[in-house]
Amino acid sequence: MATLITHSPILIIAIPLVTAFLTPLIGMANRKVRDALVIVSLAFVVVLVFALARDVVINGIRVYTLGATSPDLTIPTGFMVPVRIILEVDGMSIFMGIIWSIVSLAAAIFSLSHIASETGQNRFYTLLLLMVAGGFGMMFTGDLFNLFVFLEIASISGAALIAFRIKFADTQEGGFKYIVISAIASLMVLFAIGLLYAQYNLLNIGAIAQVIQYTTLDKIALALLLIAFTMKAGMVPLHLWFPDAYSVAPASITGMLVITSHACMYAAFRVCFTLYGSMLDAPVAGWILIVFGLLSMFIGVTMAVFQKDVMRFMSYHAISQLGYMWVGVGVGLAVLGNAEFIAAYGRDAMSGGIFHILNHAMYKPLLFFTGGALFHCTGTRDLTKMGGLAHKMKWTTILYIIGTLSISGIPPLNGFSSKILIYESVYQFHPILTITGIITSILTLASFTKAFHSAFMGAELPEYKEVKEVPRSMVIAMVILAAGIVFITLFPSLVVDWTIHPAADALIDQEAYITAVMGAIP
């Protein structure tokens, strides 16, 4: 068991990868075995992630040096800086890992019947597993270039999956937009990595953080990194590709793509808090994040009220919810240098932002899945054509209501508990942030009520007489996420103590991250 935990950082990445290589071979022979293999490997990854999470929370940061004679040997004997690629799992990475493992398992289960009638299923599952591996790589790596590589894996497989249903024109357009955007963003990330490498001759995040000077070149690199990750996360005004790409993908993939947005956000936090950290001009960078967050919250939700396509409507909501996280963590970044403010409200604001990531990762994929269920049953995403579906789709309706109440922050559901954390701490930084947040929340509820009414309420429509409840695997996937929502609702303090606070502390405590790689600083 101890050996398994020691190697689990790499196993979590490698198991989906190897399964992805195996899937085409096995899928040629037998479909059932392939499906079982995909589900079993993802379930095993979930178990590993939870075991590792427990270990990280209790024993602190875990490093894994690839190719060294021992996993802990980050620096070659008799040398000063790391040479090999190092995986570094701290509270924040494992927090993202937990989310990603659960959502990817749910998405795989959802896909079983959602794409059952399509061609090219072998390749679909291959790409899905590759995307899972890419996401885990982004979250766990401690090396800048490795981050770039896994960013590319996640975005290329995502683009191919967005364009999966080739018989529709809009899927191809959405996939093309996504891949152009991600290619440019990742090239700029690579450029920034080159700038950092040129100055310090290092690629490890912790090692660079120890020697970084914040020169003019570093500022340019910071701007490139920050904006590239911001664009990949889909913040206003860089969000324009976001609804185009996310609304056309198969619903299970959309649920996962939301988490890749979170992963890019995580990368931006990693750059700000850990890579630049104490050298950063924290208030300025913090305000940049806050402004992005405010714009996203407000413009995202007002655009969402306007939409008539159910998936597009939910994508705009995803943008608006992402804004909360930027505001919460941005406030934490803005007061980073000041221990007094951090203790007073900074840590709570960051906890709220990070808690919101968890909540959003539970209810937004659930809502996207219900949108996918509507598409599965009615064959359209257009809300103007829907109505009266609650008569036929009882499970979907109930789960949609749970998601709606949660995203709008109706107490006692989990969306409220993270929003109250954000509102109360952010208010002490600047009241306008809280006011925008509350207005956004109201508009969210209003727009979800509108969508609920037009899709589910009303008399049974004649064109949907034949509609049946969605297949069982789709219901199971949705119920997994709904169960997550109920759990967080009932035990918010348990979740916060065990996952959120370690994550927030990991971001604030740059020293620990450096020490884990470089050893104790003499």
């Binding site: 270039f145 590589v149 590319e152 290329i156 683009a159 191919a160 364009a163 080739i166 529709f168 024109a169 809009d170 191809q172 357009e173 959405g174 996939g175 093309f176 891949i179 152009v180 290619a183 440019i184 090239l187 690579l190 450029f191 080159g194 490498y197 040129a198 690629l203 609804p243 185009d244 609304s247 056309v248 306007f306 597009r312």
Partner: protein
């Protein structure tokens, strides 16, 4: 080689990236847009590989190498990785453009779009 003033290779890389940004912003043809992305990747690759050059250095391969310093090897490895990645991205982009053309009959980014707002 003598010291080159003004870092010409770096400047070339930056200008290559800059020109490709111009192409991507102002050219509406999707194939040209892909060419812009390809050019940008060339620029970034050139930048990376130029970072590792050491004046008068040899290839970092010990097989029958003359005496003298060696150029840095990590940037070369990174460039190798980056080139393959960009080949992959370009192949996928081209196949998507093929499908876009098949559906809309146009390669103009303004005419081939279905979604807005």
């Amino acid at each position: 080689m003598e010291y080159i003033p003004l870092n010409f290779p770096f400047l070339a890389a930056a200008l290559l990236a800059g020109i490709s940004f111009y192409i991507i912003i102002f050219r509406k043809n999707l194939i040209k847009l892909i060419m812009g992305v390809g050019m940008m990747s060339s620029g970034v690759n050139l930048f990376l590989v130029a970072l590792g050059y050491r004046a008068g250095g040899n290839v970092p391969i010990y097989t029958d190498v003359p005496e003298g310093p060696m150029v840095l090897s990590v940037p070369q490895a990174l460039t190798l990785t980056s080139i393959v990645i960009n080949v992959a991205v370009l192949a996928l982009m081209l196949s998507m453009v093929i499908n876009v053309y098949r559906h809309t009959g146009s390669l103009d980014s303004e005419k081939s779009r279905k979604m807005k707002g």
